[in-house]
């Protein structure tokens, strides 16, 4: 096996170097070198690790064309979790240096303290650290995720945290049940309160641009609401008053959840407004009928200006909303997204 030098330049101009064998992907090689690069699915499916290869030869593994189009592939955009070097590589990463964690990813045990179906095909799972050695603190940036491991399988899935960092050891996740999903299967059939799960993380580079003064638009598809809940809850805790419009969309009304919580947050955050979007609503639906991308189109048309656009949801929604934002003149670097599903 040949070893190649990977030189990663972060969005804010720092360089990180490590070596990578040609049978390893860049994210895994980083992990071996105790350099944890932000990523989610590690399977070419989510687009959290899209970079650009400026120099060098590589092989790009199988991936979701929805997160990396043929044109992007031709232009040497890469998914770091699916990039296998054939020579030394120079890659630009889509995140700041601060989002890279130096050290090994250690697992902690957490006990399931709550398990509830909160809408059609949506489960809320609450966990609490079981072991006390590392203290009770749960530390992460709103927007980040943690990986949960199905007991006795070694299979992990990354989910965004919906609560905020806290000193009580509590973690909250909102998970959409996928018909063939391994973790969904576990939640539907095996999970119960009191069980112990291994939790890895936090990781991921999705999050608030805390130094921005632009008003923000959050576009959430389904459980894509989770990272925005985390951000809003944190802003509420700290009494920040930035202007945020949340577009929360689902397919049917029965899939809506956390409406009361959003109302509560609106009381705490005077700058928050919310539009609920249902793609296929019942006739008496009084909210927006259509997708969040369509709602964004209307919103930007009615409220032109500079915005930070945050997107989280299925790839089709993220792509559509991104195109809407770009077409309305939002600068590409002011659009922050995380795809899942």
């Amino acid at each position: 096996m040949s070893e190649h030098q990977i030189t990663l330049t972060t969005r804010d101009g720092h360089e990180v170097t490590f070596s990578c064998g040609d049978s390893f992907d860049v994210v895994s090689a980083g992990e071996q070198a105790a350099i944890l690069l932000p990523s989610l699915c590690r399977d070419g499916g989510c687009g959290a690790c899209v970079g650009h290869c400026a120099e060098g030869e590589y092989t790009l593994g199988e991936h979701n064309a929805g997160v990396l189009s043929e044109a992007a592939v031709s232009g040497r955009d890469v998914l770091l979790c699916r990039t296998y070097p054939q020579s030394d590589l120079k890659i630009t990463a889509p995140y700041d240096y601060a989002h890279i964690h130096f050290g090994h990813c250690e697992a902690r045990n957490a006990v399931i303290t709550g398990l509830k179906t909160i809408a059609d095909r949506t489960v809320r799972i609450r966990l609490s650290w079981q072991d006390e050695e590392g203290g009770k603190a749960v530390e992460f940036e709103p927007g980040q995720c943690m990986e949960l491991e199905i007991p006795d399988t070694g299979i992990r899935r990354a989910y965004s945290l919906a609560n905020t960092g806290n000193w009580r050891g509590e973690l909250e996740f909102l998970i959409r049940l996928q018909p063939e999903g391994r973790f969904s299967g576990y939640l539907s059939r095996g999970a119960e309160v009191g069980q112990i799960l291994k939790v890895y993380g936090p990781s991921g580079a999705f999050g608030l641009q805390s130094d921005s003064l632009n008003p923000a638009v959050f576009i959430a598809g389904g459980t894509g609401l989770a990272p925005f809940l985390s951000m809003l809850r944190r802003l509420a805790e700290w009494g920040e008053d930035r202007s945020i419009h949340l577009l929360f969309g689902v397919n049917r009304e029965s899939e809506l959840f956390y409406i009361d919580e959003l109302d509560r947050l609106k009381q705490q955050l005077p700058g928050l407004s919310v539009t609920l979007c249902v793609w296929k609503p019942e006739p008496d639906w009084s909210g927006f009928s259509g997708t969040p991308a369509e709602a964004l189109q209307h919103y930007l048309q009615d409220h032109p200006g500079d915005y930070d656009i945050y997107l989280c949801g299925p790839p089709l929604l993220v792509t559509a909303a991104t195109q809407v934002a770009l077409a309305r003149g939002i600068a590409e670097q002011r659009i922050f997204s995380e795809k899942f599903g």
Binding site: G135, W167, D211, L213
Partner: protein, 554 residues
Amino acid sequence: MFCYQCEQTTRASTGNGCHEVKGVCGKDETTADLQDLMIYGLQGIAQYAKRLRQFGENPSEADDFMLYALFTTLTNVNFNASRFVQLIKETAVWRDRLKAQYEALAEQQGVAAEALTGPGQWRPASTLAGLMIQAQEAAINLELQQVGEDIIGLRAMLLYGIKGAAAYAYHALMLGYRDDDIGAGFEEALDFLATHPGDADQLLDWSMRIGQLNYKVMAMLDAANTGSFGAQQINTVNLAQVKGKAILVSGHDLHDLAQLLEQTQGLGINIYTHGEMLPAHAYPKLKAYPHLVGNYGTAWQNQHQDFTQFPGPILMTSNCLVEPSPAYRQRIFTAGPVGWPGVRHIVGGDFAPVIEAALALPGFSEDAPEQLITVGFGRDTVMGVADKVIDAVKAGAIQHFFLIGGCDGAAPGRNYFTEVAEQAPDETVILTLGCGKYRFNSHDFGDIGGIPRLLDMGQCNDAYSAIQVASALAKAFDCGVNDLPLSLMISWFEQKAVAVLLTLLSLGIRGIRLGSTLPAFLTPALLAKLGEAFDLKATGTAAQDIQDAMKKAA
């Protein structure tokens, strides 16, 4: 953005100063510009406050706001742009309140109110874009083409001196100490800056006035510290970890530390000082708390390493904050003037969230072997052994004093201060204050007839102590301070150090060596002027500077 207020500012052949989208300190363009605009607004407050005093009014609450606002603009204090948008609004509210009061009093007394222009009548824009356009008129180098870089440099020196003095005054204020004359001094200086002064001699004169004002401020702060916590006493401080839950307190604000100590009594949480908080261990009322167990880490520029390794929350009480790394971003808290976007901020002295974090975080799992250093050589301590010191000087046992004071920094040239301490002959005493001491304060320098060779006088604001000791020695030897066998090696980094330097110069102290890099706002012409007037010099090599100093001793 244009900023050259601290030592780390960008230096280039095309001109010194940070003018990119982000300064070396981490302050972004938006924040820097908003800070400039807020200072412009503060000049408006000062304009009306000064005039209100002519009617016998005392606008002390506006002065308090002004001190706080000025403090937020020091290097490494507040990086939160949204905070400055808010502060700009508050600035205009204060200014309007004073303006209305002034105009009403003028009318009442049948006097024509002055129609003030510039900051006196400025209206903050309602949008960020508008504020950023307005900020262009508030930049420190706005009239560079018209007045030249020397005048800009002098204006900057005056403003930075004001900022530094305001920070010290704010610390005193937190302990309940304020002085109307000092408030009036700030108002007058800012009012003067609002006139766009262009006369070099007049500007230099005002800098000396700020030096004198800062001398009063430091005396007030000294009174506040000793009045609140007792006079410094010699004490040993453990630099090693102690098993148990832990909170690390950094910055300078002893009031915050005292409140935290009070609120954590009996909870089993150990409190550690960091950086400029080390001298807290010398104050009797602070060291009386048994859970103030030691000092962890070193100077401010090492906080990434120190804070990452600390297994508890960190409280940043005043300046010296650098961008919190992800490793501890969730467990660092700011208080008072300090801020970083997205970092938890404590309001009103309620440290419950910090305490909650401390109880949730692991703390230290075991003790480390004790490592003790000695602190507490403030003016009262040193004056207490003045006779011994004077006798040692007369007998030739002490041949020279080196005052190595000021802030530390990351620049490689700062080894100079370490080398001066290490190479200082055995017959010399090293007085130190500020966090520059971390470069050598764990070194054993021995003693001279029972007088330790290294005397830690405290924080940078304890320069007042050093001045008092020097004055007392001069009195004892019936000479001027400049005639004493004393050399001052000042490591400047930011605006507090500028204020202290102006104080020393205003007191007529000559021959100060300033380093490791000279301020960017001091142009060659200004340096020449200060060199001529005060024999102010750049630090050279440690060996040569010591040799020069010892010639003075001979």
